[in-house]
């Protein structure tokens, strides 16, 4: 196509797709009719597409201007009057939240229902899978609740817009380590809800670790009995090991990534029998002894311990890896003010306590420390703003696309 490979907005893309559909649909028929090769048609295609691009770019510019007028955006001068007017102008019943199941229970956003119409919920199965769906417009929510390994991609693809934190009073209580990881250029692109540490755990009845490190997950004595998560964050885990000598595991250089790929290709062959893509299956595997060591969120440790499985965890010398999940405001959100009201309710102290007590995750609200589970307070330092200081938060991963592609390459090589 044309010169620059500048980002296209989703609207542009759909236009492009529309044009593509016509042309591409016509192509096989045309080919069959004249029994010739594609080149002439292809040229035509390219030209049409360029024309379309020019038109849509102008449209986008106009749209952006309108957005700036209507929406206070980054301006901190939002008055309460504007908020009331904004709420009144929207139809709150259309507020659509794309989140994992469970978020639709009103105890997770206390105080919202009753003041506003019941919002709608759609279930997402995974952060990265949702990324493609959202980019294509398969679903057009106002709020999206992924985990923030997608942060860099979501922001740089222009899928999301910054929150106006002045409309979210509870924002002041949120853990600064978590909010810092989800802001860019002074814009708060995401509101963190929960976090966890990625802890190495093992069946204490079946294995004794040699050192306190993520390296147990690469221990060849456990061949066939370790799981890795099925995600590119595995490069972060490997990057943290001293032997791999990576300066910033969250953003390895090309040379470092090449070394990590080689390391992983070697290790994936001898060590793990299983990758897991969902936590429930992994929990089953640990309980049945299919797996002896794994890499999980504390919630798994707690559940397995409750079940009576002999599980222990390691505090790695190289420091923990952590993840956090929460809320994005979509670029096309048409329930701007309701979205802010809802998110404010969803990160309140009561909501945060539900996250910790019901789902065993750390919560982002520093005031929500009255939890049943001592592990969350002792190990994860719930309520302590400094507790996440030394933790490598996956939110800060950069250029995750190349890590994802490298990860697929590693997996495919192991499968052959």
């Amino acid at each position: 196509m044309s010169d620059g490979r500048d980002p296209i907005s989703r609207r542009d893309f759909v236009k492009l797709a529309g044009k593509g559909a016509l042309v591409a649909g016509a192509m096989p028929a045309a080919l069959a009719a004249c029994g010739e090769d594609a080149p002439p048609e292809t040229v035509v295609v390219t030209e049409t597409v360029i024309e379309e691009r020019i038109v849509t770019e102008t449209e986008t510019v106009i749209e952006e201007k309108i957005v700036e007028v209507e929406v206070p955006g980054e301006a901190p001068t939002t008055t309460m009057g504007m908020r009331e007017a904004g709420l009144a102008a929207e139809n709150g019943a259309d507020l659509l939240i794309y989140a994992p199941p469970g978020r639709e229970v009103p105890t997770q956003w206390p105080g919202y229902l009753g003041r506003f119409p019941h919002p709608q919920f759609a279930a997402t199965a995974g952060s990265f899978a949702s990324l493609g769906e959202l980019q294509l417009g398969a679903i057009e929510p106002d709020i999206w609740n992924p985990c923030f390994a997608v942060f860099d991609t979501a922001v740089s693809e222009g899928l999301v817009q910054p929150w106006d934190t002045s409309l979210i009073p509870n924002f002041a209580d949120l853990n600064p380590n978590l909010t810092a990881a989800t802001s860019r250029d002074g814009n708060q692109y995401a509101i963190p809800l929960l976090y966890g540490l990625a802890i190495p755990i093992y069946r204490a009845d079946l294995y004794t670790p040699k050192e306190n490190s993520y390296s147990i997950l690469f221990d060849e004595d456990l061949a066939g009995k370790v799981t890795w998560t099925d995600s590119a964050e595995w490069f972060v885990v490997a990057g943290k090991l001293p032997e791999n000598n990576v300066a910033n595991p969250l953003d390895p250089t090309e040379e470092e990534l090449d070394r990590l790929v080689e390391f992983m290709k070697r290790k994936i062959r001898i060590v793990p029998a299983a990758l897991y893509s969902d936590l429930a299956t992994n929990q089953t595997d640990l309980a049945t002894g299919n797996i002896v060591a794994s890499y999980v969120a504390p919630t798994q440790w707690i559940e397995l311990t409750k079940q009576g499985v002999d599980i222990a965890f390691i505090t790695p010398d190289e420091g923990f890896i952590g993840f956090s999940c929460g809320y994005f405001l979509m670029a096309d959100a048409d329930q701007y003010y309701h979205a802010h009201e809802w998110v404010n309710a969803a990160v309140s102290v009561e909501a945060a306590l539900t996250i910790s007590n019901k789902f065993n995750f750390g919560n982002s609200n520093l005031k929500a420390t009255a939890v049943d589970n001592p592990l969350l307070v002792d190990v994860m330092g719930l309520g302590d703003p400094a507790a996440l200081d030394g933790v490598s938060l996956l939110d800060k991963m950069q250029n995750i696309d190349r890590l994802n592609d490298a990860w697929i390459e590693v997996k495919a090589a192991a499968g052959v």
């Binding site: 196509m1 490979r5 500048d6 980002p7 296209i8 893309f13 492009l16 797709a17 593509g20 559909a21 042309v23 591409a24 649909g25 192509m27 096989p28 292809t42 295609v45 390219t46 597409v49 995974g126 990265f128 899978a129 990324l131 493609g132 980019q135 294509l136 991609t153 740089s156 693809e157 066939g224 099925d230 995600s231 590119a232 994936i268 062959r269 793990p272 029998a273 299983a274 990758l275 893509s277 429930a280 299956t281 089953t284 595997d285 049945t288 002894g289 299919n290 696309d401 994802n404 592609d405 990860w407 697929i408 390459e409 997996k411 495919a412 090589a413 192991a414 499968g415 052959v416």
Partner: protein, 310 residues
Amino acid sequence: MVSENDTSEKSDTSEKKVRVASLARRRHRVTRSLLALPLGWLVLFFLIPVSLVVAYSVGILETFTKEEGVSLETWRIFLTGENVYMLLFIKSFRMALIVAVVVVILAYPIAYFLAMIADKYKYSLLLLMIAPFMTNFFMRVMAWKVLLGRQGVLNSFLIWSGLRDEGNPIEGLAFGEIPVMIVLGYVWIPFVMLPMFAAMISMDRRLLEAAADLGASRWRAFWKVTFPLSLPGVVASFFFVFIPTIGEFVVPKLVGGTKGYMFGSAIDDLFGMGLDWRTGSVLSLWLVMAVFILALLFMRLVRFGRLAES
């Protein structure tokens, strides 16, 4: 698959010929109108979408900003084996072949049993086999792991009953190629049985009786009559399993581990995780083309088989 009604053979008089010809014309018209809806459906909702995948594979369509314009580069890299995916395809092809053959062999006796022996109970028994499939797939696979795991039901039973030592459970049933194939077999058997069942049930049993009258043994009657007549069903069954199995990605994800990674898994990952839809499209189209060619070859074979038989 040619229907054997050659209408022209039976007409002697010219009057009859005219009638047959007009009948044939009417039939052609009917055929066309019958086909209009399904073909239209396939063009609108299948061919056009697939053309879009073609557009993705050469970069006419793009979704994410990182991609790199119109070219055949992605195709070249794949076809010249510069990346690992071609090897993965060969492996998946092999696995699908094994699964399809084994499943057809396992399902054939069941189909035979239901069609020829189960008598009036055949439909209840058939539905009995299909009923478990209303449970969610993911849940069933999870249950499989509990059954086959290192400390699972099977191993606990073997150890409890003293058939195996405590420290020596059966391994390798929870993850890898073998469990992928077991679970795929589990998923497919009832479905695979159906085309064969359908073929056998519609067989004229008087043919078997005639064979018996001519002094053929049961075994001979089976090989000379039942088996050839059920062959179209067998071929259909084979396709039923083989085709979706090469593109399978859910089962490898759940029980494949790292060894059970398949071609379909790579497609799934490239679309769902890597956001590399371009390579994903190339891989998908390759899959479509390969199976397409195979299907054509197979249909040729079957047709020859049927001609030879008559």
